[in-house]
Symmetry: D2
Subunit: 357 residues, 4 copies
């Protein structure tokens, strides 16, 4: 019963098969191979436009390269206070940008509020004393399992652009948001104003495959050089490309994400039926329920893996009792219905015991 | 006929099988999995001592993390003038170290001469005006296909240590050197004075698997944090670990390297028989012959892939005529005898035509 | 009527005379001169202990060198949300540290609240994903004209040390705080737990003279090299040293600060008498009154120079009306009573007109 | 008898007087003052064109800011192998640029040979693997006391521009070269192709005053922000500006340099008369004679201050015997004829004793 992370899952079988298949024969190294070229072409199709693609193997690398491209060392980047880039990447953006400042804005459900951005941008700042905002980074779906609507992204991007900021989307869970919205990749990104995208494949079934996608080639800057000196240009690039090729083929990526989202919905519905509170909308593949301590203990005793969570992004007024614990449950393409149901059965038994006290 | 690079090869079948095999079930992410733990234990066995291991996916990352650990921003690193770290990593070491200076020393065959190091270290330098050497980086086997003897490494390391420098070994082609010397991994590294090793798997049959190995845990510094902020801690770390596990199992890595070296020897012997000059000893899996232009053209016409080469590391007096071209030929675990023989047959025909003129 | 900044003042006559006097003859460069040595000895006297001193010419340089010494690139630094280091130094600390993160904590009057630090430190953080706090930076006197008591510094430092953090004091207005408290330099710094001090001279009568003072030589790390590569080791160092020598001689620095503080007190008292609200205690040489717009206009028309101010550090409930403006008034060693009185006279006339409406 | 460095001299009296004179009254801080504006205007006159000026207090800061502007982190900068920027600034350029590589080219007399630049630029380099040259940095007068002719600068700049490189001139001893050549500032800089100049005042009579001068405003990039975060924007900027204003007034700077050069010429002529060899042309204010050890000892015993020197830039065939020592003698605006004559008298006596043996 893995609900700890979509990173704890392995890879989707088709992705593994593609990796095995691409092994045959010699190919040019460092991205000069035909598979890398095909993936780029495929991404152009997927996003319905020409674009620049830079393959990497971690979301942290994709994010840091993206933000270093948008923000010079003396500029700042607005993001949610609990965004991956500011919270758990150990300063990767600061490192790649040479010291740009990440400004974390609080917001319910992990979403950057339009008003918070507007307020921050309304403050006059003096050059060269102060660090001027250069970029807005959004996470879709968010770290708290919610999803920006296309209109929300559009409004945030419009505001950002009006102040000269570039817009980055951390799409570590891009597909989960996309299938939730039923939008096209184009609609959820460049048509809504996104300039640079960290396109994630790893959490949704790849071994290790992410892409920095730059919609406006003029903004692609020197990502090639930054990636190289960051040590992120793989010599046998074909193996990363093959992952993404199979991932994108025949909408496999969307199916994988739809599966993960459905598992989350099934799990959330089950928990709700048990009377367990879930203070945030479950819109992708993450659920943040408030478990009675006894239920938490029963689940762990039964072998369920999941993380306790701390966040300042719950709706105002959400109370977590002394005998309760907020946890994060993550589903993935690999989550089986039996896992969900077993989790729910244990939780149900736990709830009965809690209520019996 | 791929003689362009060992990076153009795919992966060894056993490595691919291990990747497929490790896919089953959920595992802790970010290196907390059991496979990663097993690889570390295996490396302790291989090197006959306790050590710290940090898995990454490129040699550039391994080198930069290693050298950033040994050299603070205001220090310098001595290496060969044509070392990978100084020549083709786009400043990765400068990036990860925050600006340390790489000092390239010339030397025949890609080897750093002991006298050159001694001479450099004998120059008095003033703190804080001048950058003081902090590390010596050697490449084994070298970029020019030669191999340091264990004694040569020992003498260089002794000199380096006597001046307070740490010693790094870039082992992108570690196995090729090891089987050439018939030495143990311990003998070629820490017993000879190496402090930090970039242990390469990719060029010798892995998909993308390298390890920073620190022999003295006290020197491991903050590699964990540096790797994280460099974006090099893979979430699904098991897939990198599984590559190395199968690579190291049952001496597979040594067999792969022995095959590559044998292919190089067969190729070199064949070229020599044709009267083609090879100005440097062929001690691992790279050959740098001087081809008559006609032979070069004939080989390319026949579909052979290989790079022309420029180097200042040939023995003094090596003359390359106007109608000649220095090229690099690289063999790998995947090189087949037929490829070698076909290359030689085309070269032989080319030589006949050249000589007939 | 300069109340814009203590930076708008020139230098104290004695400081200028010392600069002229030190000009005679040749002296060793780069800090090897006897004047620099004498200043160091004098600072040891002033602080009643052995210490390391690094002269620089800006507070920004002193702060950045100090914090880069305490916090590695992957660590964070706690400070007030409106501290100079985080607000108006354009990322100098990020630059010198290679990307350390400044965490701004809100607090009334520009003071870092003990509880806010405790709360921040109580959050568990995971290495290597998260940036671990390495230092606490306090500003004394604060950016909002208040002064930490010795006990407050002691309590904050004790908490910081208990969590392994180093403690930095930004003493751009060190003397103003010192004379306010009537404490000794030792009491306000290392005896209270301060590890590294940016000792400011410029704002209080020097031309450009600051010192990084490290109380525990073991923590002085590589400031010499960092200063050099930052371009902050002046060749004719004697001229900086001479400023500080005269500044420190015969308690001149304390007299200068006492003058500035007295001017501020006189000004604050006068404004209060006029019914102008001053929401923060005036404890050093800065005053933040809320001026009716008409008074603000009248003062500017009369030639007074001062800045409008924006801050989130006013006491809760402080209301600034639509026809009011918060401003900052700064006095200095050079402020003359006539300036204060003229300012007050114009303000009084302005108040009469405002009240007459 | 100071011949150790022009940095050991104090400041020219007129410069000191200007500093005292500018002290009166309040002025805007951070370069918003009228003196800074006047200096900029004066520099436009001096250089006969519009230009951008950024005042700093060290040559290292000026150089590093200049080169960081010309070369991104992943680019390289060509300079002489013994240039100040590469040899004695502790990696300032690497620091400010975020890791750009300085490539030191050997050349007699400290001059970068045109052929060496051409040879370096003729090597094909691959993006993103290799660091591509972005700038050429020349030092005028050179570290070895020689002076590039205007034509030499022009030819080097033309070659650099033809390859897309920017041209930087390290003018720490700019005035000494200028008076030697009898050229105008415009002729020796932008008319010859220089893009950015480190204009030095300190060594030639200022306390601490240098300027980054950017001839083409489009290339001024973000020097303002870089200077700020480097801690090099002085709050009381007027005091730096006043130094340069008096320095530039009525050609005072040229007179000071002419004096230094004349002292060097007098010294060189005297040494030559004694039969002491001077292997490099004395074209500015530095002399590199080969002293018999006995003469060296006699001079030191008599209180002369000067540095022994090590260089690889002497003309081929220059032999320094076992009983000889190469030294550097530097004159300055403050060198008195009596000092020179006394030095020569001691040297003469020393030569007699040496010859008597």
């Amino acid at each position: 019963m893995n609900f700890a992370s979509d990173n704890w899952a392995g890879a989707a079988p088709r992705v593994l098969e593609a990796v095995a298949r691409v092994n045959e024969g010699a190919m040019r190294a460092y991205g000069g191979d035909e598979v890398t070229a095909r993936v780029k072409a495929r991404l152009c199709d997927v996003f319905e436009r020409d674009l620049s693609v830079f393959l990497v193997v971690t979301g942290t690398a994709a994010n840091a390269l993206s933000l270093a491209t948008l923000a010079q060392s003396w500029r700042s980047v607005l993001c949610h206070a609990e965004a991956h880039v500011v919270d758990v990447e150990c300063g990767a953006t600061e490192f790649y940008s040479g010291g740009a400042k990440l400004v974390g804005l609080p917001g319910v459900g992990g979403k950057v509020p339009l008003e918070a951005v507007a307020r921050h941008l309304a403050v006059p700042r003096r050059v060269p004393h102060q660090m001027i905002p250069a970029a807005l980074s959004l996470t879709q779906s968010t770290e708290l399992g919610t999803v920006y609507s296309v209109d929300e992204i559009g409004a945030l991007a419009e505001l950002a652009h009006a102040h000269g900021l570039g817009v980055h989307l951390d799409g570590a869970r891009f597909a989960n948001a996309l299938v939730r919205l039923g939008a096209t990749p184009a609609e959820m990104t460049w048509r809504a104003g996104v300039d640079i995208l960290s396109f994630g494949g790893t959490k949704n079934g790849c071994i290790a495959a992410e892409a920095v996608i730059v919609f406006d080639a003029e903004r692609a800057g020197h990502i090639a050089e930054r990636r190289m000196r960051g040590g992120h240009l793989l010599s046998k690039s074909r193996f990363v490309a093959a992952q993404l090729e199979s991932y994108l083929a025949a909408d496999h990526w969307l199916d994988l994400a739809a599966h993960a989202n459905a598992a989350a919905a099934r799990l959330a519905a089950g928990l709700a039926r048990l009377g367990i509170r879930i203070p945030l909308a479950v819109e992708a593949n993450q659920i943040f329920p408030i478990l009675p301590a006894g239920v938490d203990a029963a689940l762990r005793a039964a072998g369920a893996a999941f993380h306790p969570w701390t966040t300042a992004s719950l709706p105002e007024g959400t109370a977590i009792g002394e005998d309760e614990v907020l946890v994060r449950l993550v589903t993935s393409f690999a989550t089986r219905d039996e896992e969900v149901d077993r989790f729910l059965a244990v939780a149900a038994q736990g709830m009965r015991e809690v209520n019996a006290v």
